[in-house]
């Protein structure tokens, strides 16, 4: 006989899936057209190519510290694919995939990791908050943003992204509580990739799942196979529908894995085994989707080759564009501190510009 506790927890330990590891359906498929299915697949390949390319650029010294998401493409695409332009996302440093799916140009992402503040500036009409590096803080912003939609009588939804480690911060719990108390149209999306840098999940929490934390806040909580893009899309469809129709927040936990280092400053060999990485690579979200599409007759090998080539071209073009942009205008570090430049910043700005002009003059006269 199951204990009461086990009965209570069971729904929060169960993992929702649509595709098995070999791509055969094991659960109800979301209602998507063949074009949509192909588009989803195209996004995942584009993100993989983008990610690998940026990793290489960093190794070549052409980019600053970089946080790769390879392995988490199903989460990146599945969480953003169904959102409408009026919806919002509040990403971490590892969610630039979702940012692009929701409309941020790739060039912005590259400029951001090159170290240009303009990379944090989403185009007008693209409701993507700048990447938040202070862990879990963005969740309260997402909840507040969703709350504002509700207060204004609008139906836009906000998604707050966070990692498994981030669930230990007070902000995570405060965000869930606010979302629950005020019944706001927010989705808290946890990508549980099992590590916070080197710290494994069992060191973050004794709970048996992250999803079960929804019990305490009395909101829906679901666990999903994060390597299965159709499953991620399915749970997001339900959460978005609920939020839009006034049903309140949802906590989603996706089980996933990052293939690469935490960032380019990290050496994952110090805390995890190569076997573990390979186990997860065998569950690759892209390969799984490819098999599904091929089995359904929606995709061919030739199309696959063309798609990878197309992605490489896209990324190469974006990199070229980003690298052609040069250094940001020095004046801009002052111009956006306040709406209007106070006297002391005006003074400091003039001083810096004069100094730069003088130094350039010196370089010229010496050269």
């Amino acid at each position: 006989m199951a204990t009461r506790e086990e009965e209570l927890l069971a729904p929060y330990l169960q993992v929702r899936s649509v595709l098995g590891v070999d791509g055969t359906p094991v659960g109800p498929e979301p209602d998507l057209t063949p074009d949509q299915l192909r588009e989803i697949y195209r996004w995942m390949i584009f993100l993989r190519v983008h990610d690998q390319r940026l990793l290489t650029l960093q190794r070549q010294g052409r980019l600053g510290t970089f946080a790769p998401f390879s392995g988490q493409e199903a989460c990146q695409v599945g969480s953003a694919y169904l959102l409408e332009p009026r919806d919002w996302i509040f990403p971490t440093y590892r969610d630039h995939g979702a940012m692009m799916v929701h409309g941020v140009p790739e060039v912005n992402i590259i400029r951001y990791f090159m170290g240009d503040e303009w990379g944090s500036r989403s185009p007008d009409g693209v409701n993507v908050f700048p990447i938040s590096i202070p862990i879990a803080t963005q969740l309260n912003h997402a909840v507040g943003c969703a709350w504002a939609s509700k207060i204004k009588g609008e139906d836009a939804v906000a998604v707050g992204y966070v990692g498994d480690g981030g669930t230990s911060e007070g902000d995570f719990h405060e965000a869930l509580n606010f979302a629950s108390v005020f019944n706001v149209p927010a989705i808290i999306f946890v990508q549980n990739n099992r590590y916070a840098i080197s710290v494994p999940l069992h060191r973050q929490m004794k709970s048996r799942s992250i999803a079960q934390r929804a019990i305490a806040y009395d909101i829906p909580g679901v666990r999903v196979d994060g390597q299965d893009v159709l499953a991620v899309i399915s749970v997001f469809r339900e959460a978005i529908d609920r939020a839009r129709s006034g049903g309140g927040p949802t906590l989603i936990e996706a089980l996933t894995y990052r293939y690469g280092p935490h960032t380019t400053s990290d050496d994952p060999k110090r805390y995890r085994s190569q076997e573990e990485v390979e186990e997860w690579q065998a569950r690759d979200p892209i390969e799984r989707m490819r098999r599904y599409l091929v089995a359904r007759g929606l995709w061919t090998e030739q199309e696959d080759e063309d798609l990878w080539a197309w992605a490489r071209e896209q990324v190469a073009a974006a990199v070229a564009e980003a690298e052609a942009m040069g250094r940001p205008d020095p004046a801009a570090i002052f111009d956006y501190v306040y709406a209007e430049l106070p006297w002391h910043l005006r003074e400091q700005k003039e001083k810096l510009l004069a100094e730069l002009a003088r130094r350039q003059g010196e370089v010229k006269s010496h050269g």
């Binding site: 510290t65 240009d116 590096i133 202070p134 911060e169 080197s198 710290v199 940001p328 910043l345 400091q348």
Partner: protein, 325 residues
């Protein structure tokens, strides 16, 4: 003696402290199995085990809050906050409890916690990883604030901080972690908190600074020497308390002062030092004091980091100006 980088000297200090005092525990994010993201705690987990080298959950308020409780109950926690910008979630505990537990319990309780924080800019890091937070806490009574700039001082000051009866914020200039190697004694020694160090003697101009700006100051002093200006560089080492005697002595000697910090200009450590000179040594001055600082802007992303950080040229310009006044 062994030749050590600053980060090795810090690692050595922690090991020495843990061997001689069983009350010392090290805690923080990634400090155990991984040995810290800068490897400052490398090897400690293997030697002292998971009860004394603690990989905590990702929660700074939890880290500092529990460290306070541990310290009140007899341990000597050395907490690592992974980067300067991430002390923010623990700000509550630092200002509302750590800094004032002795005061509000009228001495019944104390929290001798050391908070080690890789600090300041210059390593081309992502946002929030290059902050200068010293002034936030200088204005908050009850904390000592220490900033080493050499490997020798890093070890001796950290051991002094662990021994100190009061909480210490130990700001480690991450830019200097591996910038040089120096002779460092392998055994126990302390460098007193509250004492500045004359990094370079000089007669014409006093240059007060600390942390990652010390090498910048020395470079500027070398350049000034080529122009016949003899600059005295004082490495303050401790911002709370400040070494008022060393500051006044140098001002008396030179009468001309430049103060250098990489933090934003307004209400930074430099402003406090100038106020102190005004209080204690104004009549020795032969020229207005000049401060060289960062700008009053958020720390720029890496492509613009060098625009922000004071360099030897900026310091040299100030030296010339104060000399020729």
């Amino acid at each position: 003696m062994a030749r050590m980088t600053m980060v090795q000297a810090i690692n050595d200090a922690l090991r020495v402290a843990m061997r001689r005092d069983p009350r010392v525990v090290v805690m923080g994010e990634d400090v155990g199995v991984n040995g810290g993201v800068f490897r400052a705690t490398d090897g400690l987990y293997q030697e002292f085990g998971p009860d004394r080298v603690i990989d905590t959950p990702l929660a700074e308020a939890g880290i500092i809050g529990t460290a306070i409780g541990m310290a009140v109950n007899g341990l000597r926690p050395v907490a690592e906050i992974q980067f300067d910008g991430f002390l923010a979630p623990a700000h509550e505990h630092v200002v509302n409890h750590l800094a004032r537990i002795r005061w509000r319990s009228r001495g019944r309780f104390t929290a001798p916690v050391v908070v080690r924080i890789p600090s300041f800019g210059g390593i081309r890091a992502l946002e929030h990883h290059s902050e200068s937070i010293e002034a936030w806490y200088m204005n908050n009574p009850g904390l000592k604030i220490v900033v080493p700039s050499t490997a020798y001082d890093a070890k001796g000051l950290l051991l002094a901080a662990i021994e100190d009866p009061d909480p210490v914020l130990f700001l480690e200039p991450k830019r200097l972690y591996r910038a040089f190697r120096e002779e460092v004694p392998e055994d126990y020694y302390t460098v007193p908190i509250g004492k500045a160090r004359v990094a370079r003697e000089g007669r014409d101009v006093s240059l007060f600074t600390y942390g990652a700006m010390v090498p910048v100051a020395l470079e500027a002093a070398e350049k000034a020497a080529q122009e016949g200006i003899d600059v005295e560089v004082i490495d303050l080492r401790s911002l709370m308390p400040l070494d008022v005697e060393a500051i006044v002595a140098s001002v008396q000697k030179t009468g001309r002062v430049v103060v250098l910090n990489e933090a934003p200009r307004t209400a930074g450590a430099a402003a406090e030092i100038i106020a102190l000179i005004n209080d204690k040594a104004l009549l020795y001055l032969e020229a207005p004091v000049i401060r060289v600082t960062g700008f009053d802007v958020p720390m720029p992303y890496l492509l613009s980091e060098d625009l922000y950080l004071p360099d030897a040229e900026r310091v040299l310009a100030a030296i010339r100006e104060v000399r020729s006044y």
